[in-house]
Symmetry: C2
Amino acid sequence: MSITFDLSGCLSERLGRGALEEALLREKTSSLRPALERLAALRMAGEGHPEFLLLPDRRADLEPARDLAAALAERCDDVLILGTGGSSLGGQTLYALADLPLGPRHPRLHFVDNVDPFGFERLLDSLDMERTGVVAISKSGSTAETLCQLAVILEALIEAVDESRLAGQVAVITEPKESPLSNLADRWRLPRLKHDLGVGGRFSVLSVVGLLPALLAGLDAAALREGAAEILDQALGERGTDLEGPAAGAALAVLLAERGYSQTVLMPYVDRLADFGLWYRQLWAESLGKEGKGTTPIRALGPVDQHSQLQLYLQGPADKLFTLIRLETQGQGPRISPKIVEDPRLAYLAGRHMGDLLDAMARATAETLVRNGRPTRLLTLDRLDEFVLGGLFMHFMLETVLAAELLGVDAFDQPAVEEGKVLAREYLAASGAATS
Amino acid sequence: MSITFDLSGCLSERLGRGALEEALLREKTSSLRPALERLAALRMAGEGHPEFLLLPDRRADLEPARDLAAALAERCDDVLILGTGGSSLGGQTLYALADLPLGPRHPRLHFVDNVDPFGFERLLDSLDMERTGVVAISKSGSTAETLCQLAVILEALIEAVDESRLAGQVAVITEPKESPLSNLADRWRLPRLKHDLGVGGRFSVLSVVGLLPALLAGLDAAALREGAAEILDQALGERGTDLEGPAAGAALAVLLAERGYSQTVLMPYVDRLADFGLWYRQLWAESLGKEGKGTTPIRALGPVDQHSQLQLYLQGPADKLFTLIRLETQGQGPRISPKIVEDPRLAYLAGRHMGDLLDAMARATAETLVRNGRPTRLLTLDRLDEFVLGGLFMHFMLETVLAAELLGVDAFDQPAVEEGKVLAREYLAASGAATS
């Protein structure tokens, strides 16, 4: 795999006395050995919970997804991906990898994950409904925002094109059971892909939930799963408790949380991983934030956030664990002509490539954080493609599940969010009663 | 002003025993009276530090900015705004308010605030350089990223158009002193606007740094300043220590920080304020995060983050203060046709507008946070336009400056960020030596 992890910037040998001792980290990591063996057995068996572990080895679901993507791509210049949270963030992350502008065979994707009427109407106004496709994604089939969006768009489509064409432009990903969304799909005979019952939204990026958008954008879905499978092989194998693996990452976060490090900052120096930060943020927050436990995931982006957050990171409270991601970019990108930057104060730029500057900043920030006593993990990618991104997804899903194991919480539920949904429906009913 | 603040969800009367007592909040707020009087005197005098307080009453700098915007708009279909941190985030926030797609008189803006070679080349490839303008913004005139971007683009422009046309397509905002950027401007006789010496980047949104992009996008710059002036009138006037003002907001954040609330979440239920969250995040972090003090600003967006962060917010550690922003949207946006949503389980949606759903979710989430004992402040906007946004900018700048007063830190410096810059230059020099 082309991902390397350097945890040395989190340990006392570099950070100094009072910081985490390597022996302690190794001990905590080793305590995860039984959990790793359980997960390895599950994968070997090919069934059981958590099902997301089985996705990297699956291929049978790719063919229907490819067919649907091809059909939509033929009819549509734009495709709206309706869905929120785990039904959207994986696809968004993948889309950032697409080689834009896309060729004529690939529609533009729009991830519609909110219900702001202003932006929504602006988007609809900009589209040619005759050439616009829709994929509505909701595991339960009852997500209010997604159903609201779909209802409005269905009406707009019916106005613009013949009702008989709906089934060629609109598709659904939901669980194979009775629900408001599956009823809508039945009524208009919409094509649908099955949302795996045992794969929650935040673990669904390697299922058709993430892969259908990826296929629409021309990405290699099989390579994503192959990259994930390689990380699984490593993480669940003999060397799974090495300091490079997800078990060590989980142990690190939990040990630091016990010492008051309540926040974990993920800071890629790669624009195409900006949305990866959003995906990770849901994964970590929703899986661990329960029973008063968990730490707060923070999405940052380098170098731009050096001009926004670095002051706080270096001299604010020492309550954050940092994970910087750098991509080998030396010698890449446009070169800064010495003819333009003649100023001797800019000698450090003259003749350099933009990728040299980016890389120098990533390494300098990692080093500066360590010198200021802030625990910092440095991830290096030698390239960024579907294989590597699939590996990153799997690494962080495993890290999260193993952190839940150490914290003693269930990584797969989200018991708190129902209360607000019920209350919102009450308010909505009351406002309707008042205005109608 | 059309902004109302409700702090009741932070106080013991609603949150219960152990929460902040209103009397304590009022006492801490009142302790800011001398600071408010000092700021009021400064404004009255029309000079002194901090200078950002004087911007709302200034008009003389608008005319040159309008002229430059008009000249660029005539020659360009696209304008790149080069700059990072405070040289970019205010403009980005303002641009979100523009009525897109813009008319033919207004160029598309691209805020280039990073140095990822991949995205940068993709952007340049998509542009017609003959119709592309550039505004390079750097207060010091020595920001490495901005100079790197500008050098590459200058070379591309010189290749595409005659060198004599540079002065019609490229402009600069920087301090009126000798610097690498001002030298480049001299060399090609580029038009420039003055970056106010006494206004740091994160306080510069109401200066030409924010207003030039706003003018390019067709926004009303004077209305922005008028909204800010009205908030100043209120905040520095007799009722400045009321619970609705920035002084109370500062006191609230600091009192809660003392009790372990180490994070402050800003969560607008307005897509057009998503970038406002980024602007605020720099302001709060960089102004307060020093000497081990400060709290971590977190940018969220509703309702989408209910499907990502709300589980953590409700049941994770009780370490966050929440500020939700809602806009009056009842009855706005597309209506959900009862003919489409016949399912009785969707009766709560039938006949409702998208804005009804959005508003119900904002109010329900605020109430649910309070019911779960999480201190929550609710801001309501009756509309969103330049006047209101100008008011929001000023409110949060004052809140930040007053929080710094209470914490005993200097809101206007950022002493920690230099170390990493120096190291990055060393690495860059070393990599150059190795490869050249």
